[in-house]
Symmetry: C2
């Protein structure tokens, strides 16, 4: 079966900076609209921690995802986001997306 | 800020039944296309465990999600899925979905 490449992971912001971090990720999602292979890029705040941001992604391929991280606009947003992070990002969980509704 | 109600959780199938379980969830996603308030219902297989199925959902409201579980067609699919599960479903993680791309 052909799979879409999925990722689900979290970024912990330093105290009080969750909303700022989420705003940067929403800006990134606008850039990704013009990047090849991005099917889904969903930004959420943890229901119990305003400084814990979850990102759920679906890509046509792992290679498309890797290429996006080389995009200058994405690199610039990553540069803005790094000082807001409380520690390094946790490695996102890899998923084989089968399908479903709404993306 | 207005949030979409998100859920991300897993279902563990008994050995060898992951694909069967995923197929039932994909059938559920077809039903959800005609149910109020479902924005996203994405079915994935864990990259490292073929019997661990992840479901990522986004709903206009928590109430819409609760109502969907009363739908006869969904209840019927849940009835088919239950015997395939290795233990009870883990409580999905609640998310406040802010936005993003592709759903």
């Amino acid at each position: 079966m052909e799979h879409i490449f999925g990722l689900h992971g979290s970024l912990k912001a330093i105290e009080g900076k969750g909303s700022h971090l989420a705003g940067l990720l929403l800006k990134a999602s606008e850039v990704l609209a013009s990047v090849e292979g991005c099917r889904l890029y969903m930004i959420s705040i943890d229901a119990h921690d305003e400084d814990l941001i979850w990102v759920t992604e679906a890509w046509d391929s792992k290679e498309n995802h890797a290429a996006s991280l080389q995009d200058e606009r994405i690199r610039s947003i990553i540069g803005e986001a790094m000082p807001l992070l409380d520690g390094m990002p946790k490695g996102g969980k890899s998923l084989k997306v089968l399908g479903g509704l709404g993306f």
